[in-house]
Amino acid sequence: MKYFRLIWRNVFRKKTRMILTTSSIILVLVLIVVLTSLLQAMQQDPSGGRGANRLVVQHATGLANFLPLSQRQRIEQIPGVVAVSPQIWFGGVYKDDRPENFFGQLSADPEIYFDKVFDDATIDPAVKAQWKANRNSFVAGEAIVKKFGWKPGEHVVLRGTYIPISLDLVFAGSFKAGDESNVFFHNEYLNQSKWFGADKYTGIYYLKVQSADDVPRVAAAIDQMFENSDAPTKTLTEKQFQLQFMEMLGSVKFLVRGISLIILFAVTLIVANTVAMSARERVTEIAVMRTLGFRRTHILGFILSESVLMSLIGGVLGVLLARYFFIPGMVKGMQTTPMAPFLLNFRVTVPTLAAAFGISVGVGVLAGFVPAIRSSQIRIVDGLRQVV
């Protein structure tokens, strides 16, 4: 620590170089935080890990085929099942066809939905009561409400796509949850609209079992029960259900990871180049220091510390700027782009920021390593003889 001042002064010896290198570290960290958070938003686990005792029943052939509502009662009778909510994906158009106005629209059974099934969502009891009481009302994730600025009592019209009706819904209020990218309305409302299937069929069943231990048994029981019926089922845990969609994003995920790794490597090269250039310019100086009695390990430590210190400064600034400046701005800017639907669950978490900070330290160590070793191995006579 007693050499901290020396290292500090050396880092700031050439201000332009220091600022440029730190800036590139900052830019790369911001980009990595954005990419990681986007990936997390895409594979959002709606319960934040608490959905371990929830199951989704879908048609064995996939989501495009509906299940008869008569199955509900039979599923409810399986021991261990707490509550079952049939749900239909409406997939309607809000305002216009542009992708930025897309959000999830699902019907649900309001009597049990927030009480027994999606029970880790936070919802004001008054809002819940109002939703239950009014057949044409709906509740929405807070992120969506913020985006569109809906006020309680406001009418929202969703134009059907594969279901050929329009829903005229009244906004009851918002809920908070890990996944805030959906709105929920009454199964009954869809039913009442006389769409041919709503009184006989449902898209999926979303259900809760008593404990996580019941999950495999109940899932097997459901699938067995309907195996030879007209509508065989495939029961998945909530996580597996989400993964279906993530698996299809497969290559995008791979791409984002790959990009992150490559740009990290690139920024390591930039920092290494900076440290190497600065060490090369100081060969004579290093030789003088050695003459004065500093050991090779000292020199190694100085150069490595310079690299780490520079990366740390970049890391701290990068994380702070990402959190408070770049990301709020970018999220705002992307609201009108096709990226918008992914932003509803976009959150920058502390672990992501911590990881980014950790990465900056790693970059500093990796980048400083080679120049530090080379500088420490300079022979005093060569160093003193060299004219830069």
């Binding site: 085929n65 279906q244 969609f245 930039i270 830069v388």
Partner: protein, 390 residues
């Protein structure tokens, strides 16, 4: 008079390590940029290629994708009798009522995906001239046979000729593979529409695929459908339909834009650092050049050119890397999700000449940004102080 380029070139060669690292950084950044763009390009091309302006898809009003549309038998019968539909040499109308649904099937990597299965009239194959059967034969109606695209066959498990596709209680025997010239059909399984209706217990169609003799006839046909109040259907040319589906690629383009801007600025800072170091290491040299008569402008141009050469080398390296990556590693088609249909779209990364040109321009832009300020500093040096420098 200008300073010869050889001077810059040799200077770059002398400082091997520093030059090499900067070239590598620029190369990586250009490579990443090209990868993301090639992905977007791949998706876009898949959805636009070989679509015809003569083929018209008729769907329910307001449907964004075929999968969302429902057409009854009555409606389908009425469409068959509309004017403007071309007839085959044997006198059959070119009409294929089609049903599209999703099935969840296992991939070769052990995971599973939703795939579109299209029921069609056998004449539907003839109406899509870009699609060729490359192995086996066409399916026979009434026998639960199917043909799959060669791409799907490579990506999914149990999809070779002779295999049986199983999903829930559905069974299809694969009798052939087809090649769809890189179009969206590459992501589909094809079977007879009546068979698909029977297996899924649906008595409806998703769309009616119709061929018209020319573009004018296509437009007239679309008008007729629109004008018929009883039908409540709308027609779109195949080309227009797939153009509208391209929104799938749009988020990737936004991503490319963000990644491109951030990495480009970061990398040009790296280049700027290298160039500043060059200027300060060569201060005396610059003084000498000025003393023997080269103007400030010549110095400025020389250093900017040196930065451009540096970054151009990086650009070429990056393009090369991307080219190798696409031709050696990412040769298999890859998939991404079409959010409108929840099914997988298969595509290939495509490195087109405009993209390559874009990558080079991108690297030169970094060179210009990274080279200008150091060059300006070099040009501003006073001869006397520069020559006195150690």
């Amino acid at each position: 008079m200008a300073i010869p380029l050889k001077y810059n070139f040799r200077n770059l060669l002398v400082r091997k390590v520093s030059t090499g690292m900067t070239v590598a950084v620029i190369g990586l950044v250009v490579g990443v940029f090209l990868c993301v763009l090639a992905l977007a390009q791949g998706v876009t091309r898949t959805l636009s290629v070989t679509a015809s302006t003569r083929n018209v898809m008729t769907m329910r009003v307001g449907s964004q994708a075929e999968m969302q549309s429902v057409i009854t038998r009555d409606q389908a019968d009425q469409i068959q009798s509309l004017e403007g539909i071309e007839r085959s040499p044997s006198g059959k109308p070119y009409v294929s009522p089609e049903l599209l649904t999703l099935i969840n099937v296992p991939r070769q990597d052990g995971k599973s995906s939703n795939v579109q299965i299209r029921g069609m009239a056998p004449i539907g194959l003839e109406m899509r001239p870009a699609v060729k059967i490359v192995d086996g034969r066409m399916f026979q109606p009434g026998t639960a046979e199917a043909i799959v695209s060669r791409n799907l066959s490579n990506r999914f498990a149990g999809m070779r000729v002779g295999d049986t596709i199983k999903s829930g209680s559905f069974r299809w025997a694969i009798v052939g593979l087809f090649d769809a010239a890189g179009s969206a059909y590459e992501s589909e399984i094809w079977t007879d529409v009546t068979d698909l209706q029977a297996q899924t217990k649906r008595q409806i169609y998703s769309s009616i695929f119709v061929r018209t003799p020319d573009q004018g006839a296509a437009a007239r046909y679309i008008e007729t459908v629109k004008g018929d109040q009883r039908l409540k259907l709308e027609g779109k040319t195949e080309k227009k339909y797939y153009e509208e589906q391209m929104v799938t690629g749009a988020p990737i383009k936004v991503l490319a834009f963000i990644v491109g801007i951030f990495t480009a600025i970061g990398a040009s800072f790296g280049a700027m650092n290298t160039m500043y170091a060059q200027v300060s290491a060569r201060t005396r040299e610059i003084g000498t050049l000025r003393a023997i008569g080269f103007s400030r402008r010549a110095i400025l141009a020389s250093f900017v050119l040196e930065a451009l050469m540096l970054c151009l080398a990086g650009g070429i390296l990056g393009t090369g890397l991307a080219y190798l990556l696409f031709n050696l590693v990412l040769t298999k088609p890859t998939g991404t999700m079409n959010f409108r249909t929840f099914s997988e779209v298969l595509f290939n990364f495509r490195l087109t000449p405009p993209l390559i040109a874009g990558g080079i321009v991108f690297s030169l832009a970094m060179g210009l940004l990274g080279g200008f300020f150091p060059a300006a500093r070099a040009a501003r040096l006073k001869i006397t102080t520069a020559l006195r420098e150690v």
